[in-house]
Subunit: 334 residues, 2 copies
Amino acid sequence: MAATLKDVARDAGVSVATVSRVLNDSGPVNAETRRRILDVAAGLKYIPNGVARSLITARTNTLGVLLPDLHGEFFSEIIRGIDQKAQQAHFQLLLSSSHYSVEDITTAFRPMRGHIDGLIVMPPDLEADALEQVLPPGLPVVLLSCPPVNSRFYAVDIDNDAGAARMVNYLLNLGHQRIAVITGRKQNRDSTERLEAYRRIMRHRGYYDPGLEIQGDFTERTAVDAVETILGLNPPATAIFALNDAMAVGALSGLRGAGISVPAQMSVCGFDDIPTSRYLNPPLTSVRVPIAQLGAEAMGRLINSVRPGGESFPKWITLQTELIVRESTAPPPI
Amino acid sequence: MAATLKDVARDAGVSVATVSRVLNDSGPVNAETRRRILDVAAGLKYIPNGVARSLITARTNTLGVLLPDLHGEFFSEIIRGIDQKAQQAHFQLLLSSSHYSVEDITTAFRPMRGHIDGLIVMPPDLEADALEQVLPPGLPVVLLSCPPVNSRFYAVDIDNDAGAARMVNYLLNLGHQRIAVITGRKQNRDSTERLEAYRRIMRHRGYYDPGLEIQGDFTERTAVDAVETILGLNPPATAIFALNDAMAVGALSGLRGAGISVPAQMSVCGFDDIPTSRYLNPPLTSVRVPIAQLGAEAMGRLINSVRPGGESFPKWITLQTELIVRESTAPPPI
DNA sequence: CTGAAAGCGCTTACAG
DNA sequence: CTGAAAGCGCTTACAG
């Protein structure tokens, strides 16, 4: 049906080798011959068969992306950054999500094998070395939000520690002492790091109380439930630090349901600064994470490492965050 | 490096044909031979080369997805539905976004050609036939939110008309007469259809006024701006119908900035019912669209049409919506 | 500057 | 039940 190299060669009266040279700009070709070939190819609407090309070159020009989840703006922003970068470098994107464990990742990777030149993956906490066992030795890999400890992988992550520490200090400086925190799952490294920073600062200032830590899972719903628990605290909390914005949204909602006004009676803040946060009621104080950039940086590194002779990047880069103060936080009620 | 069919055949003392038969469960093979081959394959950690397989079978087991945008929860929900369905059917996903025009789509499709068995695409308004010109004749295609008029394509869309009509009627029945509407871009068919329904009902009830229509672009930001215009209306509007939820979020934010309370002084409602909407302050009245299902239905149809002998689906399916009344709407102030 | 030929790793009639 | 062989559509030394 579709024209092949052979068809073009036949119609142009040359060999397939010559056509291939013209199409790939490899090797010298007579200018006149070149023009004729290009004409014929256009006339035939010839489009190279990428699969055949991949088989012989062992390059697919496709990069894989394995994500744990697809819910919420955080992940769509990551994909947006990844997609943007991939497009401008003319790479294609093979996407797969809902992979929470190394086993999931292993399974999801299987069909990708051979179809991709490299992989971006967001594995559960500290699984870099386990991952190295199950991925092909030569495959370029970039880890998202996971340190490349003991592995040959590249990694891009966020300075969760500094971000969370600044937020807690900001809250403390506002006068809060009872700061409740809603965490993500224990396996979630972003959550763990943010929580550790919270603990360190709270301890340091002498306000640490494990009773202030409520377990969530980074979704709005668990935060709504967490608010109930928090409102039952004694002595009461005066601020809620949700370890991501989705949960801050849930907390705001739960508080509204309970008739608590923010920030007059309770301060609320989040982490990530997803695009929606500035439009919330009240606008959310949060820690800005360059989410799309996180994806873009990962993709940039991956592209670089699948391309021969790219510049050399540091193995591990940590993106900085920024405290964004809006209207959901204020001094505690007196 | 990696083991090939030939390696397995050699070590098992059989021909590659037999190994292929075992691995694909095609054709009869002696039980003992089969076991031996499987053992050898496992020992060698053999994984079939998908590219080579694709070249010979002319099937890639990969489906392409071309989306206009990746901002916001609407698109991540669509992708989630698509991905879920693809995974359970063991298809891979090639994703590309930021394609607003038929030209963009044409360009983005080029590198996908040959790599995919079918395509899901969300084209601009009414471009189905233009699209048919630029896509290969045999390629299975499913259109998202675009009628398949004059084309051979499948299509899945939303009953925008009924949804918007119900919302406007609901607002009218609440007592509103001056209902401002914030629209999307003119090329956006979802927006256009919702707007048409709005106009029809407003005309029918005798409250139609073109001055109530404010142009937006489906992002929060334009809705914040639109609110300013709306607040300058004379006679004033008492309700705002944002034609998607992202703009309702923006409207809520703009109103808050202007010190207008919702719904006491102004009712606000949206369309799509993105996951966040129920957690807003106040929780948003909206038209529920089964967003993930939209993606899943499209993928289901695509999978069906690339698989030989699948059941036959109607060419065009329209998903129904549901009015979700929350707390952002109330009777107008007296 | 150009072509004949090998080969990438598979699948699939066709014989036996 | 099994194998030899052709072939999918390309690229790339190797000769000339």
